[in-house]
Amino acid sequence: MAERLPLLAPEDLRRLASLQVLARSVVEGFCSGLHRSPHKGFSVEFREHRAYVPGDEIRRLDWKLYARRDRFYVREFEEETNVRATLLLDASGSMAYGEPSKLDYAARLAAGLAWLLLQQSDAVGLLVFDTAPRRYIPPRARPGHLRVLTDALERTRAGGETDLGRVLHDTAARVHRRGLLIVLSDCLGPLPELLAALAHLRFVHHDVSVIQVLHPDELEFPFRGWTRFESLERAGHDRLLDPAALREAYRRRVAEFQRDLRRGCHRHRVDWALMTTDRPWSDSLSRFLAARRRRA
């Protein structure tokens, strides 16, 4: 696998900053404007101490600690949080396809979303999965949490088979507090199970968004000449064929699948967005947010 770039490059952050305004309004709208917020109130709780730097407000100085340590510390509190968001990142073998891979693309999207949410003091968690949950970071709203998340994203490698349905059922069981679930996956798996799992998440009052990340090849099937297609997920599973002979059939099949997925999501009131890896991920993200805002 190619060396992965840092997830949030300075230019990405610049662009994300401009998205922040958009994101803020979206998130705000979706947590307090409509009665869709998973939280009914908020609390202020101490989070940590940090060294005083000139310019900090004097009232935030922890005098008691000064008395004990003879140094100035500023008290930082858990800020107001109204959303607990969990990013569900599919790291199955199929996500390794393409350059950049769908996993890279999805990881950047996840990092971007995390940054945006954390900027708004929302708690963000991460669940990396393939057949089963591989790593879970519970939602936190601390500013340093972004680092935790990006480290986890950077370490994620694609591998294993997908069982999206099972993972989402697990998630419904694992994430008790209602919140925002953003699934980042190619969704290439049995559709009925996926839709059933989405229904399950909705049943427990999660707000679910599915960001489907696909490579253009997976939509167009543009290959020429005899080709052996080897599965990225299951070793020894391959097909030798002339792509030209079944290109149209493939396209029809994919179109059917996408249609069924879109309708299924709509039926369960799950946001669905398709993003292809040939477009800049920040563009895709901004369109996603804009669309969500419109719906809101």
Binding site: S94, T227, F229, L241, A244, A245, E248, A249
Partner: protein
Amino acid sequence: MTFLNPALLAGVAAAAIPVILHLLNRRRFRVVRWSAMMFLDDILRTQRRRIRIEQWLLLAIRASIPALLALAMARPVLTGAAGRIQRAPTSAVILLDNSASMEVGEAGRSALAAAREAAAAVLDELPRGSEAAVIGMAGPLPAAEEPSVDLAQVRQVVLDAEGGWGAARPAAALQRAAALFEQRMHHADRLLVIVTDLQRSTWSPERAEERRRAWSRLAAQPVPPRVVLMPIRAAPVENVAVGPVELSRAMAGVGQTLRIRATMRLYGGRARPSVRAYLRVNGVELKHATVRLEPGAAEVVQFSHAFDRAGSHVIEVATDPDALRADNAAAASVIIVDRLPVRLISGDPNPLPLRSETAFLELALQPWMAGAGRAADLIRVSTVPESRAEPAHLRDARAIVLANVRQLPTAAVEALAEFVREGGGLLIAPGDRASPSWYAATLDEAAGLLPARLAGIVGRPDEEAGAVGFEPRWPAHPALAGLRAGALDGVRLRAYHRLDVPPERADGILMRLENGEPWMVERRVGEGRVVLLGGPLDADWGNLPFQPAYVPLMQELIVHLGSVVHPPRNIEPGERMAARLDDDTPEGERATLTLPDGSVRELVVARRGMHRMVEFGETDRPGIYWLKPPGGADPIAWVVRRPPQESDLTPLSDSEIAALVAEASATIIESPEAFRRIERERREGRELWRATWWGVLGLLALELVVQRRLGGRVP
């Protein structure tokens, strides 16, 4: 099926290329590590069979493209059984319709010009080494009727062929073609091409029987020729035709009025209220008349003319020219004489006035001379007694009268028979001296001259009682043209010879007695005529010589007998033309004949019996032929009549053409281009490369469609 570039056929093996490529590609595949295997698995599970069929179809199309391409480049040719012929030389006979009707054409080009080009195109298509002959169906093409391998020369003759002939004679032309194939042509591939305007009068179904013999003869040959019919179409036109000119007699005396009749007919178009007809004598227009013509109906136009000069003259009736000029005039040749020599052989010469057997007749035939008038008689009589009659007396006469002759020397009878057979006239008037047995044995049985047997004398010459008159009606006959109704009412014949007319000659009875007995009987012998009377021409047996009708009766009878023109001067196309010249013309001298087309031939004077003759057989071209005899004698004109049926330009109907094609087992080919194409296809087969190329293009298109259908567009 054969191929013009068979070496390129090996290229068909290129069909293997797509298969090999297919197999190679399957071996030299690339590997893609793929995410969406679920879709491929789905498709392969549900559509594997269809995809495989489509793959095979595509492979078959792709394999066919190079194979068909190689096939096209090898230039396939569909030959069938005809492939054997290849470029083998051909024996070809072309029947070229050069009849008068071919003068009419379409778009400023005569049908003959189109026919010439069609015939030339046929010649152009013959392979090297072929032999060809061209037969004119109406008039000869002498330079091309012999088979020749010099096709360029034959072609030139065809292109130079001129019209102006009469009617086409298909049956005769086919017979000539059959003879050429039988005797003069050598190659196994045989072709008979008929280039014609398919004029109905020429090719009518009614004349199929005539042609059938020729077709059978052609079909019976060891290698029957292929028959190709090339019709030359002409636009329908209105045509005024002047039919044959009929003269009241073919010979007339100077000053005698000649009645001239011509039939005019309008073919096609609408009624023409005033069509002018002109009378031309020796090329000089003298009179004209106007007739109204209805389409399809005949109208007779009549003129009369009296010549003031002896000799051979031509009378023409003409009308204004139209599309078919050949029938805008018709002609007839007439002989005008200033004397008609008649020899009377008297069985009872008597120097006393009016006592001789021939006395009344001499008076009747030469009334002016007898009356010492100043006018000259046409008929010049000379009389010899029967005892002195000899062959030399017949030489200059145009008619002989045997007046109550008992019998003649054998030599004289033989000369008499020859005289009649060659066109002379003989009048036999037996009286009391005539011996029925000699007449029967010599004149009838030996010489074959007598129209009827003498069966005994009825009545008594010296008894008025029992005398009989003539039946008051007689047929319209030139010999009786001088008799008016009732002219013979006063005739009483006291005696007569009963004439025993054989039933087959009953038509020759010209006059009967009132008791029904025949009295005047005519018989044609050879070219001449013999008239037998039931009694003498003097007053011994009756009062006929005293009747006013006697003179015109005898005059007309003798002129009728003496005006046989032999050999004839008005003939049909193809009939032999001959003229008797003066007996003192030296044998071997040359006479000059000018033909209607202006060409000139020299004819050699030959001896025929006791006469000097010139003869000419190439009379297929209608029109006027002028002969200038040697020694400065007066020119002689013949008219070869134009066949009237040629004026009717109606072509065969489609069904009649179909019947003709069936009758001839022919192939009908409408144009030289079509002939060229069909002949090339026959020889070389039908080149299929064009179709094969289309096939390649079609397969390419099909490949594209199938490919698109299976593979869609790749971005």
